[in-house]
C-alpha cells in the first residue's frame, strides 16, 4: 500500500518535476501577465476610482475577503511545503507517515475548501454594494442625459448644433417650428440657408468670429423661415470639443427678438411721431399767424372799397353819376361783399376745424337784429324780384354771439336766394321763442334738396351739384360753418323739405336765461 502510494507519489513528483519546469515557464509568463494585468488593473482601478468614487468607500467586507484569500493562500502554501517535505524526508514511507500524509493532505484540502468558500462568499457580499453603486451611477448618468436632452429639445429658446463647416448637425423643436421646417429638412443644411438674404454678411462675420475667438455673444442676425418671412434674433454660441480636446462645432442658442424688435420700433415710431407732432404744432402756429396776417391784409383794402361804394350808393348825391356809372358801382360793391364773405368763411372754417373758435356773447335785441338783416337784404331781394318776409316775434332778447348768428343767417339767406326762382320766389326769415331756445329759420319755395343728399349738406365742401356747368356758386363752406357756429353756441341746426317743394333751414340757440338774470 505504502509502496504503491510512494510510487504514485514518485510518479506524481516526477510528473511534478516535469510540470514544475513547465509551471516555471508558465509562472514567468504568468508573472508578466499578472504584472500587466495588475498594472492595467491599477490603471483601470485608478481610472474607475476616479470615475467611481464609491470604491474608496468599500470597507469591511472586501477587506475580510482579501484577508481570507491571503490566509488560504498561506495555508495552501504551508500545506504544499509540508507535503513536499514529508514526501522528501519520509522515504521509504512508513504506515504512520503515510497515514500522516493522507490526513495532512485531507486537512489541507478541507482548509483550502473552507477558506475558498468563505472567500467566495465574502467576494459575493462585497460585489453586491458595488453592483448597487454601479447601478446608481448609471441612473445618475442616464438622468443627466435625459435632463440635457429635455433642456435642449424642449427649451422655448431656439437651439442648433453645428460643425466647424457651419453645417447643422442637430436642432431642437423650437428651432424647427419657428423656421417651419422638419428636423430632417434642417439637419445637414448650412446655417446660411436659414439666414435672411440681407444678413448673410452679418452671419458670415458672426461665424468667423466664433471660429477665431471660440465664442459669439448676442449678435443680432435676421433669420429666414421656410415661407420666406424674416425675423430678428440674437445669436450666442459656445464651443463643442471631442475627448481629445479638438473643436468639433458649437451649440448655438438663438433668441427670437421679434417682439422686442416690434416694441423698439413702436418706441422709435413714437419718438418720431412726437418729433413730428412738435414740428406740426410749430407749423400750425405759424400757419395760424400767417392766416391771421393774410386775412387782416385782405380785409384792410376791402374796407375803403366797400366804404366808398356805400357812400356813392347811399350817402352822397348821385346826381353827378350816370345810371351806367351807378350800376358799375353797385357791381363793385356786390362783388367786394362776396369777397369779404369768402375771406370771413375761410377764416371761420379754419377756426372751427382747429377748435379755436371764440365766441363773444353779449345781450342783444333779437327782434331788432332780425329787422337789420331784413333791411340789409331787402334791396337784393327787390332786385331779384323775390318776396322777402320777416315774421319774427316781438321783444325777443338773447345772450349770445350776435356777429356769428348774423353770419349763420347770412349764409342761409344767400343760399336761399341762390336756389329760389326770380319773380315767383319767396323767402321768409324768422326768430321765435320755444322753451329755453330761440329758433331761427330761413324758408324758401325754391328747388328743394333731394332726400338722399340732405344728410351730407352740413359737411365741409359738399355741393349738391358738383358739375362744371353748375348753376350755383359757393365755396361749400357755408352750411358747415352754420353747423359749427350753432353747435359752438350750444344749439343745433337742421332742415326740412324735399325736392321741388322748397327748403326750410332751422337753427336753435339757447337763451342763456341765467346769464340774462345775472347780467
Amino acid at each position: 500500500m505504502l509502496s504503491s502510494i510512494l510510487k504514485s507519489c514518485t510518479a506524481t513528483l516526477g510528473l511534478r518535476e516535469k510540470t514544475k519546469k513547465k509551471d516555471r515557464k508558465r509562472s514567468d509568463f504568468g508573472k508578466k501577465r499578472r504584472l500587466r494585468i495588475s498594472i492595467m488593473h491599477k490603471i483601470s482601478m485608478s481610472r474607475v476610482s476616479k470615475r467611481l468614487p464609491w470604491l474608496d468607500d468599500m470597507k469591511i467586507v472586501p477587506k475580510i475577503s482579501i484577508m481570507f484569500s491571503v490566509f488560504s493562500l498561506i495555508i495552501s502554501g504551508v500545506g504544499y511545503l509540508s507535503i513536499n517535505q514529508l514526501t522528501n524526508v519520509a522515504e521509504p514511507m512508513t504506515a504512520d507517515s503515510e497515514k500522516l500524509l493522507t490526513s495532512t493532505t485531507h486537512a489541507i484540502i478541507i482548509y483550502v475548501l473552507i477558506f475558498t468558500i468563505i472567500t467566495i462568499g465574502c467576494l459575493i457580499l462585497s460585489f453586491k454594494p458595488m453592483i448597487k453603486s454601479l447601478r446608481k451611477s448609471q441612473e445618475i448618468h442616464s438622468r443627466s442625459q435625459r435632463e440635457y436632452h429635455d433642456l435642449y429639445e424642449n427649451s422655448p429658446a431656439l437651439y442648433r448644433t453645428i460643425n466647424t463647416d457651419g453645417i447643422i448637425v442637430n436642432c431642437n423643436k423650437s428651432y424647427a417650428e419657428r423656421l417651419g421646417y422638419t428636423n430632417e429638412e434642417i439637419i445637414g443644411t448650412s446655417i446660411f440657408k436659414h439666414t435672411a438674404d440681407n444678413d448673410i454678411e452679418a452671419m458670415r462675420d458672426s461665424f468667423e468670429t466664433w471660429k477665431r475667438t471660440g465664442a459669439v455673444k448676442h449678435r443680432e442676425v435676421w433669420l429666414k423661415a421656410k415661407d420666406g418671412t424674416i425675423f430678428p434674433t440674437l445669436i450666442s454660441a459656445n464651443n463643442l470639443y471631442d475627448e481629445n480636446g479638438k473643436l468639433i462645432g458649437s451649440n448655438t442658442i438663438i433668441e427670437d427678438i421679434s417682439e422686442i424688435y416690434e416694441a423698439r420700433k413702436r418706441i422709435e415710431r413714437q419718438a418720431i411721431l412726437e418729433l413730428q407732432f412738435t414740428e406740426l404744432k410749430k407749423m400750425e402756429k405759424l400757419k395760424d399767424e400767417f392766416t391771421s396776417m393774410i386775412t387782416h391784409e385782405l380785409k384792410s383794402p376791402l374796407f375803403p372799397i366797400l366804404g366808398y361804394c356805400e357812400m356813392l350808393i347811399k350817402h352822397v348825391s348821385s346826381s353827378n353819376l350816370t345810371a351806367e356809372q351807378q350800376k358799375m358801382i353797385k357791381e363793385i360793391h356786390k362783388n367786394s361783399n362776396k369777397m369779404h364773405r369768402l375771406i370771413r368763411d375761410l377764416l371761420t372754417a379754419q377756426k372751427l376745424e382747429m377748435g379755436r373758435m371764440k365766441f363773444d356773447k353779449i345781450k342783444f335785441d333779437v327782434t331788432e337784429f332780425m329787422m337789420e338783416i331784413y333791411r340789409e337784404y331787402l334791396p337784393l331781394m327787390q332786385e331779384k324780384q323775390v318776396e322777402f318776409v320777416n315774421s319774427s316775434e316781438e321783444k325777443l332778447t338773447l345772450i349770445s354771439d350776435k356777429h356769428r348768428i348774423g353770419q349763420v343767417i347770412d349764409n342761409l339767406v344767400l343760399n336761399s336766394t341762390d336756389f329760389t326762382p326770380a319773380k315767383q320766389g319767396r323767402i321768409e326769415i324768422s326768430a321765435r321763442s320755444k322753451d329755453e331756445m330761440i329758433v331761427f329759420y330761413v324758408k324758401d319755395n325754391g328747388s328743394g334738396i333731394p332726400k338722399d343728399q340732405q344728410e351730407n349738406l352740413f359737411h365741409k365742401f359738399y355741393q349738391v351739384d358738383t358739375s362744371l356747368g353748375r348753376k350755383h356758386g359757393g365755396n361749400g363752406l357755408g352750411l358747415a360753418i352754420c353747423k359749427g357756429v350753432t353747435e359752438g353756441l350750444g344749439g343745433r341746426i337742421w332742415m326740412e323739405g324735399e325736392e321741388g317743394k322748397g327748403t326750410t333751414f332751422y337753427f336753435s340757440i339757447p337763451k342763456n336765461r341765467n346769464a340774462i338774470e345775472s347780467s
Partner: protein, 121 residues
C-alpha cells in the same frame, strides 16, 4: 359830434373823414397812434375810432397809455379791427371801450353805433 379816427391805413382815415364830414360831423383823423394819443389828451371827443394793428404804437399801447394817465373812463372808444373778432382780447372792456366792430363794416351801422353812444337820456 367831434370824432377822432386813429388808423395807420390812410385810405381808411380818408374814407371815414369824408363820410363823417358828409354826415355833418367834425372828424380829426391821424395815421399815427402817438399823435392820436396827444390829440386825445388835449381835446374832448364824442367818439374815438381806434384801429388795433398799427406799427410801432399799437391800439393796445394807445389804450394802455390812456389807462396809465387815468383818461380811459371819460372816453367812448370804438375798436375797429380787421382781426378776427375772437382774437380781439381787451381786458379793459368796461373802461372806455364801448364797441368792437369788425372791418370792413357798414358805414351807416358805424355811425348809428356812435350816435347810440351819445344819446342824451
Amino acid at each position: 359830434m367831434k370824432i377822432l379816427v386813429v388808423d395807420d391805413n390812410n385810405s381808411v382815415t380818408e374814407l371815414l373823414s369824408q363820410f363823417f364830414k358828409v354826415k355833418g360831423h367834425d372828424c380829426i383823423a391821424t395815421n399815427d397812434g402817438k399823435e392820436g394819443l396827444s390829440l386825445c389828451f388835449n381835446n374832448k371827443f364824442d367818439a374815438i375810432i381806434l384801429d388795433l394793428a398799427m406799427p410801432e404804437f399799437t391800439g393796445k399801447d394807445f389804450l394802455d397809455s390812456l389807462i396809465e394817465n387815468g383818461k380811459i373812463k371819460n372816453q367812448k372808444i370804438i375798436v375797429l379791427t380787421a382781426m378776427p373778432l375772437g382774437d380781439v382780447i381787451i381786458d379793459d372792456h368796461h373802461h372806455g371801450i364801448c364797441e368792437v366792430i369788425p372791418k370792413p363794416c357798414d358805414l351807416a351801422f358805424l355811425l348809428k353805433t356812435i350816435e347810440s353812444l351819445n344819446v342824451v337820456v
